[in-house]
């Protein structure tokens, strides 16, 4: 039987339910006797929690229980690489939005009243909010032993000899901002015990098996005692890689034995989640008269915020992609991920390789102008090909279509390369 599928515009299997509004998102789940939970988040960026009025909140009408870090049976922190993000803080708060108390109530109104009534007394510390301040001598140390989470260098050839060969040099500083995933469906999790006694968490996630691992760690139970149901996902873009409401919903069900829903408002969604790393990028690029790139020196600093998340991987990706898709024989790149008391940064579409194109592609246009060469032609003559070597010494074996892409755009322009 001849069946052709790859290369065909099949209609996506998920699309009918979505366009008809029938798709089930986690917040569409209702269960009998379901409770509502939410967290009180820190309003200060750095400090120590001295005390809370937890006992008073426990007495409020409609409040079923109030959970603090001492009631977590297993791991108190989660994280995709380093386990450093508190599920509920023990005492130290490192960002606005850290979770302090988890409140479980019989309905949404009681939950909101209780959350509004929580009072937290802090010993407020002086935080750091810029990369520059975080790297100063005497800055408060937010990481393990320093404020540098990660430091990577990419070096090839002889950078000084490379710049000596250059006929034109462009040296500039670029800055990219912090951005948010801005997906439409705010985070929601519903936890309950299924008929077989398995703790089940309904959520919209990019990685259900990771969520299962973290929920099991937090509750100190086996992974097969936890089940994650990945409901319809209303956008993600990297913002659903770190744990967010999963452990809180599971913990509330584990303690109350009842179905529990945690649903975020837009504001809480924005505060809670990772962000795209803002980066400072110092670029010095050298080119010879014939249009061949000969040297590149780059220094990148990424504000990774209060927790590690994917910070190492993002800055590594930035360093490795800092050359752009071009052959440059002499390269000296260094990239650092730096802790601050800003919102923590992690995965977002592009993942470090989204920031550096501002720098490398601006440099390409600046140099093309100096060479009085068409910017496409300048890119074409330096672009990778099969057999090219990247700055990391990787030999490109197959499927290197960059030149063909440039040819296509030139073709649309009706220009010769």
């Amino acid at each position: 039987m001849h069946v052709k599928a790859v290369g065909e515009g099949f209609i996506r299997p998920d699309i009918y339910e979505k366009v008809q509004g029938k798709a089930k998102y986690p917040d569409d789940i209702e269960m009998e006797g379901m409770l509502y939970a939410g967290v009180k988040r820190s309003t200060i960026p750095y400090g120590r929690v001295l005390k809370t009025n937890i006992d008073e909140i426990r007495q409020m009408e409609g409040v079923i229980c109030v959970i603090d870090y001492t009631m977590i049976p297993g791991a108190k922190c989660h994280g995709v690489i380093l386990k450093d993000i508190p599920i509920l803080v023990q005492d130290i708060v490192k960002r606005v939005g850290d979770c302090i108390l988890l409140i479980v109530a019989k309905d949404k109104v009681s939950l909101k009243k209780a959350l509004d009534q929580v009072e937290v007394e802090y010993d407020v510390y002086q935080g750091v909010f810029t990369i520059e301040d975080a790297l100063k001598e005497g800055a408060p140390i937010l990481g393990d032993k320093s404020n540098i989470l990660y430091d990577i260098k990419v070096k090839t050839g002889d950078i000084e000899a490379g710049f000596k060969e250059a006929d034109y040099i462009a040296e500039n500083c670029y800055h990219t901002q912090m951005t948010d995933h801005a997906f439409l469906q705010t985070e929601t999790a519903v936890a309950h015990y299924d008929d077989e006694g398995v703790l089940t968490v309904h959520v919209a996630t990019q990685y259900p098996h990771y969520d299962r691992e973290e929920v099991a760690r937090c509750l100190n139970i086996q992974e097969d005692e936890v089940k994650i149901i990945n409901e319809t996902i209303g956008g993600a873009f990297g913002g659903r890689e770190d744990i967010n409401p999963q452990c809180h919903a599971a913990l509330a069900t584990f303690i109350t034995k009842k179905p529990v829903k945690v649903v975020y408002s837009r504001e809480e969604s924005t505060i809670s989640r990772s962000k795209r790393h803002p980066m400072e990028m110092f670029y010095k690029t050298g080119v010879k008269k014939d249009g061949k790139l000969c040297a590149l020196k780059v220094r990148i600093y990424g504000d990774t915020g209060a927790y590690a998340s994917w910070g190492m991987n993002v800055l590594r990706k930035a360093a490795i992609h800092a050359t752009g898709p071009y052959v440059i024989p002499n390269v000296d790149i260094e990239a650092k991920a730096v802790y601050t008391n800003n919102p923590y940064c992690g995965a977002m579409r592009g993942f470090g390789a989204a920031q550096v194109p501002l720098a490398y592609e601006s440099q390409m246009d600046i140099l093309a102008e100096k060479l009085t060469m068409h910017p496409l032609k300048f890119r074409y003559m330096n672009a990778f090909d099969v057999g090219s070597q990247t700055a990391t010494g990787q030999k490109l074996k197959s499927s290197i279509g960059i030149k063909k892409c440039i040819e296509k755009i030139a073709d649309v322009n009706q220009m010769e390369l």
């Binding site: 599928a5 993942f351 499927s399």
Partner: protein, 304 residues
């Protein structure tokens, strides 16, 4: 007055976790006694079209009708770990795992010669003690780079893209309008040209937000714009004319030659816009977002 400019940008993107990090995907293909094929695979449908990609690879490999295939993709008790729907890795990595599982099942199905339907095939396979359930696995090959020199093979494969942006910049208000965008991407063989085009349109639109609109404003670590009333992202009114071309330079290690596309789709747009702004008004913007006030300030500084 409104001035028109054209800008270009090229990018590359190494897909997968990279750096030697175990980048594994698993999938199961099973012929049931009801004559259905169930593909169990941990592909999170984040809007990228991942489900369709897995379905299409299964249909192509098993050579059976789409209606006979059912995907089981959302329950950790019923599917094995296929990693994150991230790093533009689902088509390449998980697609390869689905391909592996389906190839094995197809081989098993071919051991029994029958012209009859899948229910009968199931019975015959059982009678002959042939597995009706097969496991697929794929692990990407990368190596850890040296922290001091960066030497190594950190990612594989790489996806490429080039975009041309045509913009109009109002030099009195600083407002930038994106008029037309032409894209050429190499993501290997395109499994589904419609969803792939969707990725380019969505990714480019995200790139427009990155270039000229979006910024989380902080005051002592406290986010000042927490809502969509003050965190501005592109709407349908900001979307230009998109023309998209795929250069299908097949990747031999990819499923039917495919590579990842999700993230690379958003990368060249923002720098192409910055270069187009320069072409329009002769002013270079060194930071995102290129908002009206930043552009007006740059014009003012240039005219000093």
């Amino acid at each position: 007055m409104k001035r028109k400019g054209i800008g270009y940008a090229s990018i590359f993107y190494g897909t997968g976790y990279g750096n030697g990090f175990p980048d594994e995907s698993r999938a199961t293909a099973e012929l049931t006694k009801e004559g259905q094929i169930i593909i169990s695979v941990g592909v999170s449908e984040v809007g990228q079209g991942g489900l369709s990609v897995m379905e299409q690879i299964a249909v192509e490999t098993l050579k059976i009708k789409k209606d006979l295939i059912k995907l089981q993709y959302n329950n950790t008790s019923k599917m094995r770990d296929s990693g994150t729907a991230a790093a533009s890795r689902q088509t390449y990595n998980t697609g390869n795992a689905v391909l592996d599982a389906c190839r094995k099942l197809k081989d098993n199905m071919n051991k029994v010669k029958t012209n009859k339907n899948l229910e009968n095939l199931y019975v015959q396979m059982k009678d002959c003690n042939i597995d009706t359930k097969t496991e697929g696995y794929f692990k990407a090959t990368t190596s850890e780079v040296d922290l001091e020199t960066g030497q190594g093979a950190p990612y594989w494969p790489y996806t490429f893209g080039v975009q041309k942006a045509t913009v109009e910049v109002d030099d009195e208000t600083g407002k930038v309008d994106i008029i037309e965008v032409t894209s050429a991407f190499d993501a290997g063989k395109i499994v589904n040209p419609i969803t792939a085009q969707g990725q380019i349109i969505g990714g480019s639109t995200m790139g427009i937000g990155y270039a000229i609109m979006e910024e989380v404003n902080l005051n002592q670590g406290d986010i000042q714009n927490k809502n969509f009333s003050d965190y501005i992202i592109p709407t349908s009114k900001d979307i230009p004319k998109y023309h998209t071309y795929f250069i299908e330079d097949v990747e031999e290690t990819g499923p039917y030659g495919a590579k990842g596309l999700g993230e690379p789709a958003m990368l060249p747009m923002a720098p192409a816009i910055i270069n187009a702004i320069y072409d329009a008004i002769g002013v270079r913007i060194y930071e995102y977002p290129a908002t009206c006030d930043r552009i007006l300030l740059a014009i003012k500084n240039k005219n000093k």
